[in-house]
């Protein structure tokens, strides 16, 4: 049996506590999408018109480095959120996103969400808080990686 988008959104950790009414608003801007392994969800510099909640599979966030090719800087797994460029001008992706496996996700239309957030500041505040949490988490992970956790230690 196919589940409704609203019931799918109920299971998204980031959206926990939003309430049925606001989840229905979000569902109005959402659609389910599927990506085959190796296909791209988006490319750097393209318009960032959406964000994704990955429901199944893994996505690599990559950057193309001249002479080195594409370098994965992070992977996003089931239950995680991909993309925040839709929130901030100039609304363009900073990186590529490539499906490592079959990916099933829920895509949210950024322009649609921004309109709803402007007309319902409460929704905007709630969403912004949740995205700030995602940003903080990713920034902390990135800081840990800057430490080179697996370095040489005491060389003897």
């Amino acid at each position: 049996m196919q589940r409704s988008l609203e019931s799918v959104l109920h299971d998204v950790p980031m959206l926990e506590g939003l309430g049925d009414e606001r989840l229905a608003l979000l569902a109005g801007c959402a659609r389910n999408v599927r990506f085959d392994p190796g296909s791209y969800l988006f490319h750097e510099d393209e318009p960032a018109d959406s964000f994704y909640v990955v429901r199944h599979g893994s996505v690599a966030v990559e950057v193309y480095v001249p002479t080195r090719g594409s370098v994965a800087i992070e992977t996003i797994d089931a239950g995680e959120v991909l993309g925040w460029s839709w929130l901030f001008e100039p609304y363009r992706w900073h990186f590529d996103a490539r499906a490592l496996t079959l990916v099933r996700a829920t895509a949210f239309d950024g322009a649609c969400l921004r309109r709803k957030c402007e007309s319902d500041p409460g929704l905007g505040y709630a969403l912004m808080g949740r995205f700030a949490q995602v940003l903080i988490e990713r920034m902390q992970w990135m800081r840990l990686r800057l430490l080179d956790l697996y370095g040489d230690g005491a060389a003897r």
């Binding site: 893994s58 690599a60 990559e62 080195r68 090719g69 594409s70 370098v71 994965a72 800087i73 992070e74 992977t75 797994d77 239950g79 490539r98 490592l100 496996t101 992970w141 840990l144 990686r145 430490l147 080179d148 956790l149 697996y150 370095g151 040489d152 230690g153 005491a154 060389a155 003897r156």
Partner: protein
């Protein structure tokens, strides 16, 4: 330390290296080798998971190395003069070994509950005997999960062997950076804990890696509700004598070579928070 081990050590003297011959040498990564050693004479020592040997590259120096598989298999990363000399030892070469020293991972105490093995970089080597023991007694444990992080895919240890672990324990691997040929996870090892299935109060976590990696792994485990006494870590300081005489490996009131290297986080937490210690 077991009575039999003490007796054996007293026979040859705990400070006297015994000659061991390199039987096999396998390159794991660009800077890491696994050596299988056999005693040149006498009996093969019994080494419990987590114990270490003092390994002497004659004429160069001596370093502590955790045993990565029984009876005497050592995985060594070539980072200094001594470890480079050990890694360069070809089959037939003789190294001096003292030990085994230290306590061991209390693997059997975790029976009946969930188990997390959290390893970073070369830290998988001292945990490999734990994984082998868990696999040998798989039915005695509930969910068993290995979370392993390394710098790049090329720095991962035991790649072929760990493929055989996957069907029997949940194995999650991540690296800090990778090119597009890597289809696995990229990110910090602590992030993998979100994918593990475990009941915090009935879980035993075995954690080993660079201290900064253990620091953040422990923080994540505590946030997920694990009690301090169920988080076990393997500590490392400048171990020289191996028998608690020189004091170089002191951590607070304990000597790691004698009282460790395995501690519960509850035991060492006050000392880990002291800078310069």
């Amino acid at each position: 330390m077991a009575t039999a081990q003490l007796a054996e050590l007293s026979n040859v003297g705990a400070m006297t290296p015994r000659p061991f011959r390199v039987a096999e040498r396998v390159q794991d990564t660009v800077d890491t080798w696994t050596l299988t050693l056999e005693p040149a004479s006498g009996t093969t020592p019994f080494v419990a998971p987590g114990q270490f040997m003092m390994v002497d590259a004659f004429g160069v120096g001596e370093v502590p190395i955790s045993v990565s598989a029984p009876p005497v298999v050592l995985t060594v990363r070539a980072v200094g003069a001594v470890s480079k000399a050990i890694c360069a030892s070809q089959p037939g070469k003789v190294l001096g070994l003292r030990g085994p020293f230290g306590n061991s991972w209390p693997v059997e105490d975790a029976q009946g509950g969930d188990v997390l093995v959290v390893a970073g970089g070369i830290g998988l080597a001292p945990l490999r005997p734990v994984v082998l023991r868990l696999l040998a007694q798989r039915g005695a444990y509930r969910n068993v999960t290995l979370c392993y992080g390394a710098r790049t895919p090329g720095d991962l240890l035991y790649v072929d062997e760990s493929e055989t672990w996957k069907g029997r324990i949940d194995t999650y691997v991540t690296v800090d950076a990778a090119d597009s040929s890597w289809s696995g996870s990229v990110g910090v090892v602590t992030k993998l804990l979100a994918q593990a299935s475990f009941l915090p109060v009935e879980t035993t976590a075995f954690v080993c890696g660079p201290e900064i990696m253990m620091h953040f792994a422990i923080r994540e485990l505590l946030e997920r509700g694990m009690p301090e006494h169920r988080i076990l870590v393997s500590m490392e300081r400048h171990m020289d004598c191996g028998i608690g005489l020189c004091g170089h490996c002191q951590l607070g009131p304990t000597l790691i070579c004698r009282d460790g290297p395995v501690y519960s986080y509850a035991q060492v937490a006050p000392w880990l928070e002291v800078r310069e210690l």
